[in-house]
């Protein structure tokens, strides 16, 4: 290679001080920086990333986008995000290949059916598009799903969100980075935050592998590493970090026209634009920052996938990988202020935060700018774990979302 294409953003050294320092240059950190500048005119901002931009979960997720969550609070924030996705390519002037091909969530037993129908009704009341398909309608919508009654995991029906789909995660990250950079935001790679400087109960600076950086506000957007950072500020959070694995197959001709998810058997499948099948598994049970998981988890996921799609029985797996996801007790995110003044939190998106990238960035930026939660973020504060106002999305989220 003799020529590298033009870089889409500058590669600045850190300055000594910023109004807002965002820790973590994944999708959420980049979107937050972008909307801080775009919506609130706050541009004296740095995004500090210990590796390279968007090399964490942003590079590892299966890119499923949907908003059909059960509770009002979730429907509102995920639907806000989905609406942003619908205009995001134009907004960022970059083709994000957001393909609204429809997301099926299969029901395999009576409990699934009841949960699915209830969720469809809840979604419709919240203005979120949702349909219930019976097994025959599932077969018509996605002909390669095995809906035989004799299947190991019989398909009794499915929820369908037609506006859901997939996008190209790299393009999303690059476009947001370019957008934030154009507003003057410093995107600083190879810069690990190792601690915080606290004055009384207020954060005033971050310590990094590239020196001290003073900060008016510090915004965590570190996904799987949030607990490690919070511990540096003396905070314990209701988060556990787990491996979450996914894999891709060799390239195939177009064969799968939609996204198929099955909570009960822990697999979700789509066919990427290039042609490979992209399949996600459930989390590995134990806590880990190792960015890898057990092969038996992949094996169980493949076994389920082959029951659902016998046509894939001779497809070869090309590669598997894992990310580190920050799982919260109610499968909902935690957004807002913390007990440490000027330290803000956006975490707990766990297995399902890619779809929230623009929405989370939007409400987090607002929360930082106004020093109080955006109305859509308000129910997702840390307080809910002591008030008991949990937002339990295990039904809509299950192992992964």
């Amino acid at each position: 290679m003799t020529h590298h294409p033009d870089f889409l953003w500058r590669d600045p050294d850190p300055r000594p001080a910023y109004d807002v320092v965002i820790v973590g240059g994944g999708g959420h950190g980049l979107a937050t920086a972008y909307y801080l500048a775009r919506n609130h005119g706050i541009t004296n901002v740095a995004v500090l990333e210990r590796g390279w931009l968007a090399g964490g979960n942003m590079a590892r997720n299966t890119t499923i986008i949907r908003s059909n969550y059960l509770w009002d609070e979730s429907a509102a924030i995920y639907e806000h995000s989905l609406k942003l996705w619908e205009g995001l390519s134009a907004e960022l002037d970059y083709d994000l290949s957001f393909s609204r091909r429809g997301v099926l969530n299969l029901a395999h037993h009576l409990g699934d059916v009841r949960e699915g129908r209830r969720r469809v009704n809840a979604n419709l009341l919240n203005g979120v598009d949702a349909e219930w398909l019976d097994a025959d309608e599932v077969r018509k919508f996605c002909p390669i799903v095995n809906v035989s009654e004799r299947a190991r995991h019989p398909v009794l029906g499915a929820t369908l969100q037609r506006r859901g789909g997939i996008a190209k995660h790299d393009h999303v990250a690059w476009a947001l980075a370019r957008g934030a950079d154009a507003y003057g935001v410093d995107l600083i790679q190879g810069c690990e935050v190792t601690g915080f400087e606290l004055r009384k109960n207020r954060v005033v600076a971050v310590r990094t592998s590239r020196g001290r950086i003073a900060a008016g506000k510090v915004a965590l957007a570190a996904a799987g590493h949030t607990s490690v950072l919070a511990a540096q500020a003396g905070l314990r959070l209701p988060l556990q970090s787990h491996p979450l694995q996914a894999l891709v197959s060799e390239l195939l001709e177009p064969v799968l026209n939609c996204v198929v998810m099955s909570n009960a058997v822990h697999v979700y499948v789509s066919q990427a634009h290039k042609g490979e099948l992209v399949m996600g598994a459930s989390i590995d049970a134990y806590n880990s920052y190792g960015q890898r998981g057990g092969v038996h988890v992949i094996e169980a996921q493949m076994a389920a996938a082959l029951e659902l799609f016998p046509i894939f029985s001779r497809v070869r797996v090309l590669r598997t990988w894992a990310g580190v996801v920050d799982v919260s007790p109610d499968a909902s995110p935690i957004i807002g202020r913390t007990p440490v003044e000027n330290l803000y939190l956006n975490a707990g998106w766990g297995t399902g935060g890619f779809k929230a990238t623009p929405g989370a960035g939007w409400v987090y930026a607002h929360t930082l700018a106004h020093e109080r939660p955006h109305p859509l973020a308000e129910p997702f504060g840390l307080e809910r774990f002591s008030t008991g106002a949990l937002i339990d999305e295990h039904g809509a989220a299950a192992v992964a979302h």
Binding site: S227, R236, Y286, N287, Y289, G290, H296, P329, G388
Partner: protein, 80 residues
Amino acid sequence: MMSLDCPHCGPRDENEFHYGGQAGVAYPAHETTDEEWAAYVFLRDNPKGWFRERWFHVHGCRTWFTVERHTVTHEIRKAP
């Protein structure tokens, strides 16, 4: 797949076990505030490094036991 050393059955494959999370989380000894109760129910350590944790030999002798495991290398050593 990890291999875990069940105190009763010896080394067995990870998928014979159920994960129990952080070890030594004690039930509050007295009346609690909402914050203390929330901490008992929801807050767990989540270290990057050594972690004392519970495992359950669910597909074996059904013993609960505690090990120390490194959350980056997945190395396991006997809990002191």
